[in-house]
């Protein structure tokens, strides 16, 4: 509890925050000199200018504290002296210290049993920049940043509706990371909301450092490579999804907002799909699905056909493939795996390097090394084509987590195809479909609307993107 004796309170702060070199603390005598105030904040985590202008200046000038001042008198003086709107009172030292660590300023007064918390977060943050992973030719160019407040503002700016709610909580025993759960009250399904809140409140961990942490804690199936929540850096996408009854989880220090529930079809959707004409975007959508299929199955199919069933393809094509392979000294499986892993290494190296060098690496790795490997007879040109096509197809999928899942499962299909031929390829594909059918996200079947739809009209925003006025409500929405 906070004591009436200011010196006692200061002692608690100093003993708790020992060796905090970046802590700014000062006791100032005000009023009839026998009374004082104590201000404390973390340097640069709190806005020094705001504290001095809106709080200290007013208090030092206006406070007329005397020995006889009661709590009510002090409260009235504080209300008049502090000119910033965002303040609150806390009753315990633990709460007060938590607020200091969150970047707020603590103000305590002699003879007053409560502490004043002045919202003065002023830590350095990145501004609103262009999205890096979800680039759109047409549409807004704003992306989320690491500040939770900026991110919630970016969403609020797009939905001016009183039913847009923002529940706030803190997660992580040590990090006490701020989390905002945003939803449209009249759109969200109550059972999904309560499940989401339940899962969030169940998280018990030392720290949350990114939305990826939350993703792994709240997903339905821990052992599935498929993303069961959607991460996005686009505020326009979040706003649009909120109107569809989905829930957004904004995590402080992360530029990615989580959207739940998530189905496979939503991972194939990009916000740009809705900004352009439906005909062309339907074609693009279809291409994405085909690309996704090839990203998953093409290497396995190539291996199955060349290893076991060359007679199944046209003779000319079969001769070309076997002719190209005749000088390659390593088996087809090793050749394909070597090229796939080389491609993965190139992709990884390209991400880690600065963008200018990254593109150079792509050219050097992809074209020069690839050509050299073919010329040296280490790999066949067909394998280079297959691996490159698979890579290109994987880039056509608008969701990175889904691409990663496909990248991983692709190896399972390659191995099954190498072992059992086309039959193995077929079984591998069946395994994937069974797995997808078994997944659920917050109670919604993952393959919705391809499965569990209530009619054909629910397919209007899946394989194709029907005109906006022809689209009906989504499964996430309260009916």
């Amino acid at each position: 509890m906070i004591s009436k004796n200011l010196e006692q309170n200061i002692a608690v702060v100093e003993s708790t925050l020992t060796d905090w070199g970046d802590l700014v603390k000062r006791r100032i005598a005000v009023g009839d000199e026998s009374r004082g105030i104590f201000v404390c904040y973390i340097d640069d985590l709190a806005d020094r200018g705001l504290i001095e202008d809106s709080v200290l200046h007013g208090l030092i000038v206006d406070l007329r504290l005397t020995h006889t001042s009661t709590d009510t008198d002090i409260q009235a003086l504080l209300d008049r002296g502090i000119t910033t709107a965002d303040i609150k009172y806390v009753d315990t030292m633990t709460e007060a210290i938590d607020e200091i660590m969150a970047g707020n300023a603590l103000l305590m007064l002699d003879g007053f049993e409560r502490a004043v918390i002045i919202s003065a977060k002023g830590f350095p943050k990145r501004g609103v920049e262009k999205p890096e992973n979800e680039v759109a030719v047409q549409g807004p160019k704003e992306a989320f940043c690491e500040s939770i407040r900026v991110n919630t503002v970016l969403i609020r700016r797009r939905i001016r509706d009183t039913s847009l709610k923002c529940k706030q909580l803190q997660l992580g025993r040590r990090t006490k990371t701020d989390i905002a759960v945003m939803y449209l009250e009249d759109c969200v399904r109550p059972e999904i909301l309560s499940e989401a809140m339940h899962r969030l409140n169940d998280i018990d961990t030392e720290g949350i450092f990114d939305s990826g942490y939350i993703e792994q804690y709240i997903q339905d199936s821990k052992y599935s490579p498929f993303p069961q929540v959607q991460l996005t850096e686009r505020p326009d996408k979040v706003a649009a999804e909120l109107t569809q009854g989905r829930i957004a989880i904004v995590v402080d220090t992360s530029p990615f907002v989580i959207l739940v529930p998530t189905v496979l079809a939503s991972l194939y959707q990009a916000s740009e799909d809705y900004y352009q004409r439906w005909e062309i975007m339907s074609l693009v959508r279809l291409i994405r699905y085909v690309a996704g299929f090839f990203a998953l199955t093409l290497p396995g199919l190539y291996l199955a056909v060349t290893l076991y069933h060359p007679s199944m393809i046209a003779a000319e094509l079969a001769f070309k493939i076997s002719g190209a392979r005749s000088t390659v000294p390593i088996p087809s499986l090793a050749e394909l795996l070597f090229m796939e892993l080389a491609f993965e290494a190139l992709r990884e190296a390209g991400i880690r390097l600065p963008s200018a060098i990254g593109s150079t690496l792509g050219i050097v790795g992809g074209i020069i090394i690839g050509q050299a490997a073919v010329d040296a007879g280490l790999v066949s040109p067909m394998v280079v084509i297959v691996v490159a096509l698979t890579g290109i197809c994987s880039f056509a999928i608008p969701n990175l987590s889904l691409t990663s899942a496909y990248r991983l499962i692709k190896y399972m299909i390659i191995l099954l195809s190498a072992a059992l031929g086309l039959y193995g390829w077929c079984l591998g594909l069946l395994f994937v479909i069974i797995h997808l059918c078994s997944l659920k996200s917050f109670g919604i079947p993952y393959l919705y609307p391809f499965a569990a739809a209530h009619g054909l009209h629910e397919l209007k925003d899946s394989l194709i993107r029907a005109p906006l006025n022809k689209q009906h409500g989504s499964i996430f929405k309260k009916r």
Partner: protein
């Protein structure tokens, strides 16, 4: 299926299929309406009420054995076809075990996953079938369908009664009632019967037009054979039967999977307290052992047909009819007793 219809009724197989479909639809309506009053009780739950616990238990054992045998033989036929048709060098054992593992994964996940799987695969399945029909029609002779009713009415009826057993999956509706949240929709079940019947009739008609009765009777897998002989201009796929085999594999997967899924359910019912994972492993292991113990593909095929004929005559046709009659007589007796007491 086209082969069996041709063997049983020649070119009148088409009429037999239509008759069987109609009979299956009527039977579906009759059975589902008759047992509607039992609410969400499944077939064996109703059996327990009507015939007693011991009879229900015995019938459950029989159902499990029938399902395991049928699935086992089906798996063996699949293995033989896979290795034979696409000339895959993999051993039959590997083909059977791989398919069994895939089915185990699906079965372990339960009925809901299986139904979703069917929903997802239905459209691609029908699209490929449409492609197959297109290919078959290209060189088909429509006059092969004529004259109709060349066989005697008795023969057609006999063929229809056998073909009716192919609609055995209807019994799964009665086994799935405890899992259906909403009211059982009889209309949808009848619709499904007609869709199934239409697909079978179309496959038969196309293969008949392509091969004629004599050849169709001789060919074990006429659809695969038809795809083998199709040559599509400017296609880079040389042998279209691979495509058909993919569909065929999926079809067998669904047939075996749904049978084993229900076997697992019934096994869990019989051995109360045993987890679904264990019962599914037991059922599938038994099916694999059955598959591998068959002498060869043709033996497995014959055994599969016999299991289907005997098993489904008992469980698909016999059991619901017996239950209905027994129930009806019981009600009649109770009604008389009540009337006597009242008097």
């Amino acid at each position: 299926m086209p082969h069996l219809a041709a063997v049983l009724a020649g070119r009148d197989g088409l009429a037999a299929i239509c008759l069987a479909t109609l009979a299956a639809a009527l039977y579906t309506v009759f059975v589902l309406k008759a047992f509607k009053r039992y609410g969400c009780l499944d077939l064996f739950g109703i059996t327990e009420i009507v015939l007693g616990k011991t009879a229900a238990q015995l019938l459950c054992y029989g159902f499990i054995i029938k399902g395991v045998l049928f699935s086992g033989f089906c798996l063996r036929v699949l293995g033989e076809t896979v290795t034979g048709v696409i000339e895959s060098p993999i051993p039959i054992t590997a083909a059977v075990i791989a398919a069994a593992l895939c089915i185990l994964y699906a079965v372990e996940n339960g009925l809901e996953v299986y139904t979703r799987l069917a929903e997802v695969c239905l459209v691609p399945f029908l699209l490929v079938l449409a492609f197959v029909f297109g290919c078959g029609l290209k060189d088909g002779k429509p006059n092969e369908l004529l004259p109709v009713f060349a066989q005697s009415g008795k023969d057609i009826l006999k063929a229809a009664s056998t073909l009716l057993l192919w609609f055995y999956p209807i019994q799964y509706v009665m086994l799935s009632t405890p899992y259906i949240n909403q009211k059982l929709n009889i209309k949808s079940c009848v619709k499904a019967v007609f869709v199934g019947g239409a697909v079978i009739a179309a496959v038969f008609a196309v293969t008949l037009m392509r091969f004629g009765t004599a050849q169709l009777t001789a060919l074990a897998y006429p659809v695969l054979e038809m795809m083998y002989s199709v040559n599509l201009p400017s296609s880079f796929i040389e042998r279209q039967e691979g495509l058909m085999l993919g569909i065929w594999t999926t079809g067998v997967f669904f047939t075996v999977g749904s049978v084993l899924c229900h076997c697992t359910e019934v096994t869990s019912l019989v051995f109360k307290g045993t987890s679904r994972g264990i019962t599914s492993i037991i059922c599938i292991t038994a099916a694999v052992i059955t598959a591998l113990s068959a002498k060869n593909g043709s033996t497995a095929y014959l055994c599969m047909l016999n299991t289907l004929l005997i098993g489904e005559s008992i469980y698909f046709i016999g059991l619901p009819l017996v239950l209905f009659l027994y129930d009806f007589l019981n009600n009649l007796r109770e009604g008389k007793n009540n009337a006597t007491k009242n008097n």
